[in-house]
Amino acid sequence: MLRNFLIALVLASFGFIFYNLYNSYEPQTELTGIAAHYAENGASEVGAANLVTAVVVSYRSFDTLGEITILFLTAAIISFFLKLSKEDEERVIIHRGTSELLKTASQLLIPLMFLFGIYVFINGHLTPGGGFQGGAIIASAVVLAIMANPNMTINHNVIIWVESISGVSVVLIGVLGIVLGGGFLDSTLDGYGLGEFGTIFSAGTIPIIYSLVGLKVGAELSNILNMYQKSQKEV
């Protein structure tokens, strides 16, 4: 009884705060402040048509670096928690047979999904999309592969190598920004790498960094899903 009363009290106070916030909210009619700067100068300073990509990879790339570090840590902790013992690792569980249709379709669809994911993160500076979305699509392709063939084992070394090489490369390209550009993770390389606005070879190092981020995110999400799939073997 007391518990329910306390819950109601907490929710009522939250509701009061949110009600006031909602009432005092005035819809914007024009961009102001830092968003206006990004909108006006994003195209000329960074050269990316997609301003979200410009913010994620260039203006606030420290944020992204921290984010991929956190994702790496999460994947590492999950691998540590769900690690199997030797006898669990060798156990084979009998799944129900997947249908012929799914197997055949997955053979056709998985390469297409990988291709689409790569397309999404290579074109991240021109169209909606980018490293995180492309990585999620690649992880979905891995999910489809697991669904079509539940006894499949993903080679762990491939995931580890893709992840570490792309992670190190992001930092190395960031250091290249100190040498050639204005600072760590500067994507413009002193204005030389901008290229023609709106084409695929433009925006400095943004496509390269975002592709590497996409590979890293895809590998990490696949690793998490693979660990969960393997943990089913444990009794």
Binding site: N50, G129, F132, A136, S140, V143, Q229
Partner: protein, 85 residues
């Protein structure tokens, strides 16, 4: 200007579905129903993101929020069922 009003009406419909699904996710006793309802909330949130002209966020939410996280919930549920039996 007319588009704006149509979008708002669609947003109200989607939002009410989301709220009903969220309440179902919390009140229903079956875990699988709760997980599916949470996935539906994520899916409709991605449509709402698209209406609020945020296509990048909508793509991420559709792939991760309603796809991958629902899947790992079901992995955990399956394992718990297996260990219970």
């Amino acid at each position: 200007m007319n588009n704006e009003i149509i979008y708002s009406v669609i947003a109200i419909g989607i939002g009410s579905i989301m709220l009903i699904m969220a309440v179902i996710a919390i009140l229903n006793n079956k875990l699988s129903v709760a997980i599916i309802a949470a996935g539906v909330v994520s899916l409709f949130a991605s449509v709402l993101f698209l209406l609020m002209s945020a296509p990048d966020v909508a793509m991420t939410e559709a792939a991760i929020g309603s796809g991958l996280s629902t899947l790992i919930f079901f992995y955990v549920l399956n394992k718990i069922k297996r260990q219970n039996a």
